[in-house]
Structure formats: C-alpha cells, structure tokens
C-alpha cells in the first residue's frame, strides 16, 4: 500500500501550495496549521471565524477526498489505526508536536511550505531541523526499538 506515489503526491502538494497562495491573497494570512489552530486557543474573538472556518474546511476537504477516492477505487483509502502501535508513544509524540510547534512557531505547513516559499532562512533552518529530527526519531523507533505497526 505504501509505495512510491509521485503523481498523487505532486497533485496534493500543488493543491496545498494553491491553498496557501489563496489564503494569503484573500486574507493576508500565512497558511500555517499550528499557528492557525493555536490562535483559536489564545486569540479570543478576534480572528476566530477565519481560523475556525479554515480548519473546518481542512477536515471537510480530507473527508471529500476519502469519499471520492473510496467510491472510485473500492479500496480503503481512509487512514487506519496501527494495531500494534503503543498508545503511550502516540501521546508522547502528540505532546512533542504540540509543544514543539508552539515553541518553534510553526510546523510543516508554516515553516516547510509557506516559509520556504517566502525564501525565509529562519524557516529553512526550522525545516532542516524537524526533518532531520524526524528521520532520527523514526530510526530510533523503527530500527532501534523495532516498533512497527
């Protein structure tokens, strides 16, 4: 199932880039998911509507894809839970992703897509760091501790 899929990957990436350009063009905002979502927790009333609607759209967009692709291929396109993946690792990882994206002011979308598109050295440094750390952590989990799932 998880083989090399360059065309769907490229098409999906193009849509993500188009989304970022659309958001900047219309609202003047950067499409960084962690920043948009964190703003919901801290911004109070200001900016609540656009942030909430962006995230509603994000969830609905994924849902539309699953509905379309599922009916077109009859295959299970919806992500499934890994039966043997320890819940504790999911919790630790979630905390790290949350705290880390808050401290580092951005995630894959904010630094990785929008920051690189703005040719920001700060975002390039962040992106190289989190991709490097991701490769290291995956190696530790999969190959050192042999957790698959």
């Amino acid at each position: 199932m998880d083989t090399f899929t360059p065309w769907s990957a490229l098409a999906g990436g193009v849509l993500i880039g188009a989304s970022a350009a659309l958001l900047l063009w219309t609202t003047g905002r950067i499409a960084g998911i962690s920043g948009i979502a964190r703003g919901l927790l801290s911004d109070g009333a200001a900016g609540f509507a656009w942030r909430a609607l962006f995230l509603v759209g994000l969830i609905a967009g994924a849902w539309f894809y699953y509905a379309l692709a599922g009916s077109a291929s009859h295959a299970a396109v919806v992500p499934r839970a890994r039966p043997d993946f320890p819940p504790l690792l999911l919790i630790v990882a979630g905390l790290a992703v949350g705290y880390g994206t808050a401290l580092g002011r951005g995630c894959t979308s904010g630094h990785g897509v929008c920051g690189l598109a703005r040719l920001s050295p700060r975002s390039l440094a962040a992106t190289l760091t989190f991709v490097g750390a991701g490769i290291g952590a995956t190696w530790v989990v999969r190959h050192l501790f042999a957790v698959q799932g």
């Binding site: 998880d2 769907s8 994206t101 050295p121 989190f130």
Partner: protein, 153 residues
C-alpha cells in the same frame, strides 16, 4: 469594505478545503506514508519530496504574485511573520516537533484532518497535541510578550 466581513471567512473556508483535500490526496494523512519517507534506512518512499516540492513551487509563484499587491483582497494588510532570528526557541521547537513527527507520523495538519475519519489513534494523538499547545501557553508563553508578532504560522 463591508463585504469583507463575509468574504474573508468564506475565502478561508475555501482555502481550508483545498488544503485538506490536498493533504489527503498526497498521502500525508496516512502516518505510515509519512514514516515511509522519514525511514531513510528502511524501504524509503520519496513521495513526500513531491508533496513538499509541489507545494513550495506553487506557493512561491503564488506568493510572488500576491505580494505585488498593496493589500490582500479582503483585509487591510498582509500579516507576515516579522521574526527573522534563527535562535534557540526556533531550533529547539523544531527539534521537539521533528521528534514527535518521526515517532508517530503526524504533523498538525494531518492530525487535525484525522477528524474527517477518526480512528483509535485520533483519541490519543490529537488531544495530546492540543495539550502540548496548552502546556506551552501556560509555561513559556506566560513569560513572553502577551501577544507575539506574526503568530500566524
């Protein structure tokens, strides 16, 4: 502009729809796909290079065109991050984020997109990620300026 009151949220919803559809189509909402990319010593799957490449290419061209304007369509001004420092919070945060990403295979967008098709993992990862945001807010966030410049990321 009065219409902007409604136009802005609608445009934001449209951008979100594109983003979520793109995420799911690209494979990034499947953690095994993401880990297949990060697992460079295993059966490496370079698909995510195409996701990031496509997204950055389109966003670069789009941003260049958009930023020639004096202002966005439905807002007074562009709100771009002003912080340019490559400092310890940036690198420490990115390191911590990368570790979490590499353990479980979720970054924030795909983690939220899980709500489109929740499974058992959603129950653990998503609340933990939101708790991480909250934890930052009540610890480090309290010591910083009450409102950071350029939070939108």
């Amino acid at each position: 502009m009065n219409g902007a009151r409604y136009a802005r949220p609608v445009a934001s919803l449209a951008a979100g729809l594109l983003f979520g559809f793109g995420l799911a189509l690209s494979g990034m909402t499947r953690p095994l796909k993401v880990l297949g990319f990060l697992d460079v010593t295993g059966r490496w799957d370079p698909s995510l290079v195409f996701v990031l490449g496509g997204a950055v290419a389109v966003a670069t061209l789009g941003f260049r065109a958009v930023l020639r304007r004096h202002a966005p369509l439905f807002a007074g001004s562009f709100e771009l991050p002003k912080n340019r420092a490559i400092d310890a919070p940036l690198l420490g945060g990115a390191l911590l984020f990368g570790i979490g990403w590499g353990i479980a295979g979720y970054c924030p967008g795909p983690a939220l997109a899980q709500l489109a098709a929740p499974n058992a993992e959603t129950l653990y990862f998503l609340p933990a990620m939101i708790a991480g945001w909250g934890l930052y807010r009540i610890t480090a966030g309290a010591r910083r300026r009450p409102r950071e410049a350029g939070t939108a990321r």
